[in-house]
């Protein structure tokens, strides 16, 4: 199997490329591909179940020097509450626009030719038309509205007349947290639904304590404060306490009551374990299906293709686990000339990364002779290697004529069913990637976060050695997506290095097409 290798050192955030190996085509492509966009907020994908912005974005006007106040009743309540808002002294027969202040939140990603970095969030404050009113002869008005499904926390409400904020009110959209079911055997999936996560930094992260053990973090940035996620019931028969805590970045902010945002304090929930029905079978929970909003994919940029090429290529499937069989059809190639199919990937790691950290590699998948009509039909096997975004490239005459992105999904390999207490055991998975979005999994044992495992240096194969602990019976091991916020590290990148419990509905990678699952595993501990 032929393989070309291009040494691409990663120094001080800039790529330095040096060609090695037999095929120059890869190096040419990568040099061109290095001209990519700077880190930028990414348009949030449409997430099923998440509320849309409830009204049109409008100009919130400019503050008056003689700002009055509005009366809002109630002004501390959840979304969906009927609310009355009124004002006085605004001038007779004035047309009043009520503007609800809120925000749009997007993740910031840096799509590079050989990776994707996660840089945090971008919050843009906006005003949304809430209602209109006309004052009476005394300058008063009163209208009712339904508190919108929006980010939680404080929302200023302005009465705007002729572009001027003449009076202000406010509404605290309360956070609600519910679980379902509330009882069941060990391993029962517990669905937690949260409405009213905030948009400001210190209101935008929740974290979960299960019997005072840290399970992970939750966000709802691209879902307008709404999310739903699953944890599993662990522990002995009896009552267990799930605390949904306010947080700022990853772990609970335990005295939120003393913070400037006290309404993000903990919500205590209770689950009763009824029995131990044995270890559930291994399963994988995938995020919701969304349409990615980023056109750029890791190592898959249109600039890799020879500018003169008009060839096209198609795969009968563009996503799957390692070793998937994929049919390739290409057209518009030079007739009667051999063509090769190659796989793009990288080799390296981020550990102690100060010099050369990873290299681009191309792996030949197959070859054939193009027909007289310029078409090529063949099949390839997806390599057993790194997961994430790659490309199948059609190479002819030393040039990339066409390419198609392919996403390698994570897969499960093994976990033992029964382990003696105190003995080690191995969890194996494959298809782990290398970007800051997908190079690592976070591991919890009975809902307690115990560490992470990286798949970059081991080429997508992750072998985690754990120790069986606890009383005889069922114990749960969950592997969650994790945002690797090291090497390189960026300031203010929340949610890094901990289990992303809310991965299924709100995660930076969704916009870039990263389909990252949770693994739901279990063992039976015996004496």
């Amino acid at each position: 199997m032929a393989m070309s290798r291009i040494n691409s050192s990663w120094r001080n955030g800039r790529q330095v490329l040096a060609l090695g190996g037999a095929m120059a085509v890869g190096a040419f492509a990568l040099l061109q591909a290095s001209a990519v966009a700077a880190p930028a907020p990414v348009t949030a994908p449409t997430i099923p179940g998440a509320p849309a912005l409830f009204g049109p974005v409008v100009d919130a006007g400019k503050p008056s020097d003689t700002m009055g106040t509005l009366k809002t009743t109630p002004d501390v309540a959840p979304a969906g509450t009927k609310v009355t808002i009124s004002g006085t002294g605004l001038g007779a027969s004035a047309a009043v626009s009520l503007v609800w202040m809120t925000a749009n939140v997007r993740y910031i990603l840096d799509a590079k030719p050989d990776s994707v970095d996660y840089l945090g969030r971008k919050v843009d404050k906006i005003g949304v038309a809430l209602a209109n009113a006309t004052t009476d002869a005394s300058g008063a008005f009163k209208v009712t509205f339904t508190a919108p499904k929006d980010f939680g926390g404080l929302h200023d409400i302005f009465a705007v007349v002729n572009g001027v904020q003449v009076a202000k009110g406010g509404y605290l959209l309360e956070r609600t947290v519910k679980i379902s079911p509330t009882k069941g055997p060990v391993g029962t999936p517990i669905t937690v639904t949260v409405v009213g996560m905030g948009s400001p930094t210190y209101e935008s992260v929740g974290s979960v304590l299960y019997d005072n053990k840290y399970a992970g973090a939750v966000s709802a940035n691209t879902t307008r404060g709404w999310t739903t996620f699953t944890i599993r019931a662990s522990g002995k028969v009896g009552e267990h306490f799930i605390s949904y805590e306010g947080s700022s970045h990853t772990v609970p902010y335990l005295n939120m009551e003393q913070s400037p945002v006290p309404w993000t304090g903990a919500h205590m929930l209770k689950f009763k374990i009824t029995r131990d029905a044995g270890a559930p079978k291994p399963s994988m929970e995938w995020p919701v299906a969304v349409q990615p909003t980023m056109s750029e994919r890791t190592t898959v940029l249109s600039t890799n293709v020879a500018p003169s090429s008009t060839a096209t290529a198609k795969l009968d499937s563009t996503t799957g686990p390692i070793l998937s069989k994929v049919n390739v059809t290409a057209a518009g190639l030079t007739p009667n000339v051999p063509a090769a199919l190659q796989w793009t990937s990288v080799v390296g790691n981020r550990v102690n990364c100060t010099g050369t950290c990873w290299n681009f590699v191309n792996q030949q998948l197959g070859s054939g002779t193009v027909g007289a009509d310029g078409t090529l039909k063949t099949s390839v096997t997806i390599p057993d290697g790194l997961g994430g975004w790659h490309a199948v490239q059609v190479v002819q005459n030393g040039q990339i004529k066409a390419q198609v992105p392919y996403y390698v999904k994570r897969s499960f390999v093994s976990i033992p069913k029964t382990v003696k207490a105190g003995q080690p055991f191995i969890v194996e998975i494959k298809g782990v990637g290398w970007t800051q979005i997908d190079n690592t999994v976070a591991v919890t044992y009975d809902n307690s976060y115990i560490g992470y495992a990286c798949g970059f240096n081991s080429n997508g194969y992750v072998r985690i050695q754990l120790t069986a602990t606890g009383d005889p019976g069922t114990h749960l091991i969950d592997l969650y997506p994790l945002l690797y916020t090291q090497q390189p590290a960026y300031p203010y990148s929340q949610l890094g290095m901990v289990p992303l419990l809310g991965f299924a509905h709100d995660a930076p990678g969704l916009a870039a097409g990263y389909d990252l699952p949770a693994y739901r595993l279990a063992i039976t501990v015996v004496k």
């Binding site: 002004d75 202000k168 009551e257 309404w263």
Partner: protein, 172 residues
């Protein structure tokens, strides 16, 4: 007095930094007549809320029912004279939806550590709008010098403090 001068010095520095950022690109440079330092502290006599464990501490977040005390130090830009009843024609604070608050000059602190500055206090009503509010401090001197300072603060509700055992809401 040494402490007061230090505070004023810091205030002047703060104002010097702050003022350019307040001006929009289209605004012409403005002459500074008066330098102001403004902060607020939680008053020790709230009417509709529990007193905080420590009174008179600086904060910009207020629970409804608490007492907000504006504190102002200032000087005349040209002469460096301290703003006091000796040279101030009027001084007040505007707060949305509330009659203007008159600033009073007086001494504060223990008998051995008296400090003079301007103050104005008010109680946030139980139904005062939640969210961010902007107060405006206004000074005019006897010789016509004029100065203002915008001060933002946040109004939050009184929240229950007990955790709920149910599977729904409530802050603990």
């Amino acid at each position: 007095m040494k402490r007061l001068m230090l505070v004023i010095g810091l205030a002047i520095t703060a104002c010097a930094i702050l003022v350019p950022s307040l001006a929009s690109a289209a605004d012409p440079p403005k002459k500074l007549d008066v330098m102001l330092y403004v902060d607020t502290v939680n008053g020790s006599r709230p009417v509709g809320a529990k007193p905080r464990p420590v009174g008179c501490t600086q904060t910009n977040v207020y629970v409804r029912g608490e007492q907000q005390v504006f504190r102002v130090w200032g000087s005349v830009a040209g002469s460096g004279d301290i703003l006091s009843t000796e040279n101030v024609a009027y001084a007040y604070v505007t707060v949305p939806g509330t009659p203007n608050l008159k600033l009073n000059w007086g001494s504060h602190g223990s008998a051995t550590n008296k400090v003079y500055f301007w103050t104005a206090a008010w109680i946030l009503p139980a139904d005062y709008p939640l969210g961010e509010a902007t107060a405006k401090v206004v000074f005019k001197t006897e010789d016509g010098s004029f100065g203002t300072y915008e001060y933002k603060f946040t109004v939050v509700p009184q929240l229950k403090t007990a955790a709920k055992k149910s599977t729904t809401v409530k802050s603990r």
